[in-house]
């Protein structure tokens, strides 16, 4: 776990975190903006993700190809991600070239052009990206389930946006979103790697210190603590495989309950990793649901998904049904296992094992400098850096009773959405 962290805030409100790691001559520069699909309104979905694409299209000072080539010719890599809660951009490159990354990020914080012709070209690129996602039944299933998991909160929509919105958004919509949210006071700069902090601070001041922010309006949706009443959604499509997704409400990332829920997830579906870049994972073949569903040949695979988010999110279990079994048989077996974890004592050794797995996953990911930049910003998007540095410690403090209580509170049969993707030609529902 990281020990030292340098924090600083510029006069314009830009927050800065620096973590020195001298294992390789590499630095990773991340800038995080407090905007994502969570801040969008119906009819304008997909704005944050599209703005992210436009950030690669050039500024008055730097053309798109200049920016792209400047990082690439150093052997560096750069990219960006948009999530429901945040949008982030990063460059990982030789440490001595950190200045290139800082200059680029400072320039496009306020200076991107949003050329109307480029906006139109990017519209078809994003539609193509969405079409690629739509080819996957699991995307379609998740989209249908999330839509029913919230009544009004923007977490109900996919980050990429609804197709009808992508066809209707204008250059003014995009530029307005950018102008409003891309502000020093709505940003966090995270630097990790082979960095000399004094020099890095000087460079940050040089490139970002002169950026003037302006007042901005942040659309803050009301959190939805409870899931709507039980609902089942059935989808049909091509193929031979039946997929099931079950979603329950989950606690927000910055809550004590989240750590108990993380242990619960690990026990049910195996450990999940916070590593964004490399580090691999640990298989889930001795998790409770693998043993009960896959080993017993009711399912072919089982996976869980829990993300730390600003507002209460969802915990999802994805199942691939065994071809010889019915959906009802599979769901009944799932419910038996959930009832078991809600009613029978959990051994402390099972929690200790989950903690060791979490610790190992961090060890695997920590040799990647880019992960360190990610972790700093990610933790700050819904909590602060201590959330990350104390993560394993807080998991270790979870008691068996807390896990039982979390399972009872959240994994209720009457407060979940069940989505079933059935291949064309098969019966959608069991008799």
């Amino acid at each position: 776990m990281p020990e030292t962290l340098i924090t600083h805030t510029l006069d314009n409100g830009l927050r800065l975190l620096i973590r020195e790691i001298h294992t390789a001559p590499i630095a990773s520069c991340w800038i995080w903006y407090g905007v994502g699909s969570r801040n969008e309104v119906p009819g304008k979905t997909g704005l944050s993700h599209w703005v992210e694409h436009m950030q690669f299209k050039g500024t008055a000072q730097r053309s798109a190809s200049w920016m792209d080539h400047a990082v690439a010719r150093l052997g560096g890599h750069w990219n960006a991600f948009t999530s429901p809660d945040w949008t982030t951009y990063f460059e990982t490159l030789p440490a001595s070239a950190l200045e290139t990354a800082l200059a680029l990020e400072a320039d496009r914080m306020r200076g991107s052009l949003f050329d109307p012709a480029e906006v139109e070209t990017e519209r078809t690129v994003i539609l193509s990206e969405r079409e690629g996602l739509e080819n996957d039944p699991l995307f379609l299933l998740n989209e249908a389930v999330q839509l029913r998991a919230y009544q009004h909160h923007p977490y109900r929509g996919e980050v990429i946006g609804a197709k009808e919105d992508l066809l209707a958004l204008t250059r003014e919509d995009l530029y307005g979103h950018y102008q409003n949210y891309y502000q020093p006071a709505n940003a966090l700069l995270c630097l990790a790697g082979d960095i000399e902090p004094r020099r890095a601070l000087d460079l940050v001041q040089k490139f970002f210190g002169g950026i003037q922010g302006s007042p901005f309006n942040k659309h803050q949706p009301a959190p939805e603590e409870d899931l709507p009443e039980f609902e089942r959604v059935d989808l049909r499509g091509p193929g031979d495989t039946t997929f099931i997704e079950i979603a329950w409400r989950a606690p927000k990332g910055n809550s004590e309950e989240f750590f108990a829920f993380t242990i619960l997830e690990s026990l049910l579906t195996g450990p999940s990793s916070l590593n964004m870049f490399g580090g691999g994972g640990i298989s889930n073949r001795t998790s409770r649901l693998y043993l009960a569903l896959v080993e017993k040949e009711l399912a072919v695979s089982v996976n869980g998904s829990l993300n730390a988010s600003i507002d209460p999110g969802t915990f999802s279990i994805n199942l691939t049904k065994h071809p010889a079994r019915s959906v009802d048989q599979l769901l009944a077996a799932l419910d038996r296992e959930i009832k078991k974890i809600q009613s029978k004592p959990i051994a402390l050794a099972e929690i200790d094992r989950a903690v060791k797995q979490a610790k190992a996953l961090f060890a695997y990911g920590s040799d990647n400098i880019t992960n360190h930049g990610f972790w700093m910003g990610y933790a700050n998007s819904f909590a602060d850096y201590s959330w990350f540095t104390e993560y394993v410690q807080r998991l270790a403090a979870v008691s068996p009773e807390q896990v039982t209580n979390i399972a009872r509170k959240y994994l209720r049969p009457d407060a979940r959405v069940i989505g079933v993707y059935t291949p064309n030609g098969e019966e959608a529902r069991d008799a």
């Binding site: 294992t23 390789a24 001559p25 590499i26 195996g270 640990i282 072919v300 691939t320």
Partner: protein, 429 residues
Amino acid sequence: MPESLFSTAKLPGSDDITRKQFGNGAILLTRPNNSSPAVSIRGYLPPGSAAEPPEKYGLVNFLASMLTAGTRRRTFRELHNEIESMGASLSIGAGGLATSFAAQCLREDLPRMLEIMKEVFSEPSFPAKQFQRIKTQILTIIAIQAQDTAAMADQAFDRAIYRAHPYAIPELGFPETVQMISREDLEAFHQRYMGPKGLVAAISGGIQPAEALDAFERTLGTWVNIDQQAQPELPPVEPLTGIIREHVTLQEKSQTDLVMGTFAPKTTGPDFLPAQLGNEILGQFGMMGRIGEAVREKAGLAYYAQSELGMGLGPITWQVVAGVNPNNVDKAIALIRKELSRFTTELVTEEELADVRSAVVGRLPLSLESNAGIASALLNLERYKHSLDYIRELPARIAAVTREDILRVAQTYWQLDNMVIASAGVALS
């Protein structure tokens, strides 16, 4: 040049890589990374899918999955409980010429992990219950892939370019051939081909070479299979003649995946490095090189459009791949052909060559920052018979590649009248 941004002496080389061949034929390369609390192990061993009989395609993939289904000493559950309780991982998969493996664990657990690896490789028990379960899993994966436009375009490409060569066959096999595979087939194939001769492993992480060598010697270094036979030699591929156009129709798909390509130079041959730099210019550098610029940035036709140069000891391919709207397939093909035409008739610019030289060299520290990255690089040194100082020598070799070298290689391998164009998606209009 970015080599001025770091010292090549810090890259892996003969003074910090230890290589040893053991009495049973197995080879280990190792390099310490003292700052890491973990260890990564990468490697390969025979057999590969190319050794499968036609009626049992998918045999090596099935075998790879069954190795961790139980051993003579441990049940499936005991085995995975041991691995997962350490917070470790072990994955084994089929390749054309070899079975590959990847494992990681905390450094203190390396001896236990190597013991487990020896056990799964040398003493699998092929339990009947797991056999049936894993067969169903494989058949389900094949069924899911059959609806995946990218996987289907790839398979159509391989069928068209490799024809009678074993590489034409997907490593998972086909439903009818997987159904034909018995436990006895797996046992016999394992006994005949899987053994320490041809096993190469690389270990990188927080462990000193002497400890790694000792732990390896006491485990995989003692494995003996007196029945182990050499795999059959790969047959040659037939050269491409003409344009082969294949399309796999899949219903209700929003995007069509496209693969265009030809045979690539040998990874171990003199044309490979010019091809690698040329490929960067063609479809990798920055936002997917010239192909990305033409198809995505200017025409807005695709979310991804790039070129990919294969690496391997068998016959490999050089491809351009893209995901496009079904109405834009022909437009994308035309744009890609235009870029290939330019690539094979004009010298790349001085600036382009300088950019990609710089990029490929500059990428070295990034690719080698993790234990897994180092272990993979060590493995490639052995696979391609490079010297232990090859990575340090790479910047000088790259600097020696000229624009004329790239054009010559482009013209040798890309011929616009001889290529495979494969796609998968809704019916072509």
